[in-house]
């Protein structure tokens, strides 16, 4: 009994810094955020109670809907494409081929630096009117290519492409997952007459579902938080076509100092991301297979 208590005490000693962070910066901030959402606050004068007015103006703010639409488009297009792409490349790489190490290094480098400002500058230039991409298009005979980043129709897809370019970290997770699939499963499938394609859909894919699920959840959350690309490359434009949700939140909070409004926005964002993640978790029991699970198909 004494020993158990002593260990409990020691544990809380070890956890002390983390507990402060949890209580003040995470839970405390979260409560504070809810309070702020119901106030008007500009950082200088004290917050004044505003009731639900922030939420009311939010739901009649057309830029809020624009930012939501832009972000949803970005999430729905970039996350699945990036997943499929990383999965395909991982499946191709998971063979006994020479030089796999070099390919892996090259494919991983973009995800290492992809969210940095340096790469944003590079991307902006490549997809500008006179950038590298158009030089290439012109050299293969396309006379008047669009000015990608400054064209409201295409700007968002330039940023989607930047996200897909960073498929390397997902690919590494898939490669690690592929290595864990026992040969015996493939041998058994081959004896049952399954060809390579059948094996992929009935052995490889089901065995990879935990990694697919993880990448899907984390990829979705991260895509909702996209900021740097929209801020540096397009400044949210042209005509708000890349006004991501967090970018708009940043503008409300740190350009107009509408702290209450920004707090309300962050709560709405949490609810939206929560709904998405919750939906993925709920559906996961129908399609995610965990090893050692009995009777799983």
């Amino acid at each position: 009994m004494m020993r158990a208590m002593r260990q409990s005490l020691a544990a809380y000693g070890f956890l002390f810094p983390w507990l402060i962070g949890l209580l003040v910066l995470t839970l405390g901030s979260f409560m504070f955020s809810i309070y702020l959402a119901f106030t008007n606050y500009d950082l200088i004068s004290s917050p004044t109670w505003a009731g639900v007015s922030n939420f009311k103006s939010l739901f009649s703010d057309h830029l809020f809907y624009t930012s939501l639409k832009v972000t949803l488009l970005y999430v729905v297009v970039s996350v699945p494409l990036r997943l499929i792409f990383s999965l395909l490349v991982a499946a191709l790489l998971n063979q006994e081929i020479a030089g796999i190490g070099i390919y892996r290094v090259i494919f991983y480098i973009p995800s290492l630096i992809g969210t940095s400002v340096g790469v944003a500058i590079m991307w902006q230039n490549i997809f500008s009117r006179n950038g590298l991409f158009n030089l290439i298009l012109q050299s293969i005979g396309m006379a008047h290519p669009p000015a990608w980043v400054s064209d409201p129709q295409y700007a968002i897809y330039v940023l989607v492409l930047l996200s897909i370019w960073q498929f390397g970290s997902e690919m590494i997770i898939f490669l690690a997952g592929l290595k864990q699939i026992p040969d015996s499963l493939y041998e058994a499938a081959a004896i049952d007459g399954a060809n390579r394609l059948n094996q992929f859909f009935h052995v490889t894919l089901p065995m990879l579902t935990p990694m697919i699920f993880f990448n899907l959840v984390m990829g979705t959350i991260n895509a909702f938080m996209v900021f740097t690309q929209g801020f540096v490359i397009t400044h949210g434009g042209p005509i708000n076509s890349t006004m991501f949700y967090v970018l708009y939140l940043y503008k409300q909070g740190f350009e107009y100092f509408h702290m209450g409004y920004a707090a309300a926005m962050s709560i709405v964002l949490l609810v939206i991301v929560g709904v998405f993640a919750g939906f993925l978790f709920l559906t996961s029991k129908f399609w995610v297979h965990y090893e050692g699970e009995e009777g799983g198909k």
Binding site: G21, Y41, I97, P110, L132, M225, V246, F254, S266
Partner: protein
């Protein structure tokens, strides 16, 4: 699972991979070589190699904007990243050890909280945290960027999780033997667990370093004065203040900004791969 493919299939795979590699790496190589091209050459051809090599973009770019040079930005980024590495090591080892090895009340509840903070994006608590740090007078110092890592907030939940997984993998008999030898919990942590955790500590350090180096959002929010700017915010200021004639300088500084991370990766590849695979798979 590895299978040896037939020669023709092998050739097809190599061709696909080589084409893909070229497409993926071409933008970076293009920027690298463009940074050595005279201004007139940058936008005139898609060819990779410069006809005339020049270092002028590096010398001119390094001068930065308005008297703030990249010496300042690199120094700030380096200081900040190192401090966050220290904070990450501190919090991930203490917390990871407690969750992996010690029994205490509320353990499963607190562990659940830990997993939740891993999924909770910093953007959600950004506004209240900013107000707290603003009231403390910490805005425009490194404190709001460093202190959270010492108390397990911002990027560190991933590292705590990584440490929990790692320490759980160490044989439990070590603890028993150490306890019989008269070690208390602190000695067990310092003398047994920490030295054995070296691989995990390296992984944590690498990720803490490069995530901080690449970070832009929180540095943009908390650092207002150019003398506190990092490479990320310095580059952003440079971009805002430069005309079309300065693309070469921007490329040169962008290349320098991503170089440390790429070098780190090339030398410590194994740790990168392991870090992604362990936090990734067990999530």
């Amino acid at each position: 699972m590895k299978r040896r493919p037939k020669p023709i299939k092998l050739l097809v795979i190599h061709v696909i991979m080589i084409i893909l590699s070229i497409i993926i790496i071409y933008p970076i190589l293009w920027m690298l070589f463009a940074s050595f091209k005279p201004m007139t050459e940058i936008f005139s051809s898609a060819s990779l190699l410069p006809k005339h090599w020049t270092l002028e973009h590096y010398t001119a770019g390094w001068q930065g904007v308005g008297g703030y040079t990249f010496t300042t930005f690199f120094r700030n980024s380096l200081i900040l990243s190192v401090l966050v590495v220290i904070g990450s090591l501190f919090i991930s080892t203490l917390t990871g050890f407690a969750f992996a090895r010690l029994k205490f009340k509320l353990r499963s509840l607190l562990f659940m909280f830990m997993l939740m903070t891993m999924m909770l994006p910093m953007q959600i608590t950004l506004i209240p945290q900013y107000i707290i740090f603003h009231k403390l007078g910490w805005v425009n110092t490194f404190l709001p960027l460093v202190v959270p890592s010492f108390v397990g907030v911002s990027i560190t939940p991933f590292f705590i999780f990584l440490m929990v997984q790692f320490v759980r993998g160490l044989p439990k008999e070590l603890d028993e033997a150490a306890t019989i030898d008269g070690c208390n919990t602190l000695q067990l942590f310092l003398r047994i667990i920490l030295p054995l955790s070296k691989p995990a500590l390296i992984t944590v350090s690498i990720f803490a370093f490069y995530w901080t180096w690449d970070d832009f959002f929180s540095q943009l929010i908390y650092l207002n004065n150019p003398d506190k700017f990092t490479v990320s915010t310095g580059l952003n200021m440079f971009l805002d203040n430069s005309g079309n004639s300065q693309w070469g300088d921007l490329f040169a500084m962008s290349i320098l900004s991503i170089l440390p991370v790429i070098i780190l990766f090339l030398f410590l590849q194994k740790h990168f791969v392991k870090g992604i695979a362990t936090t990734g798979m067990k999530g």
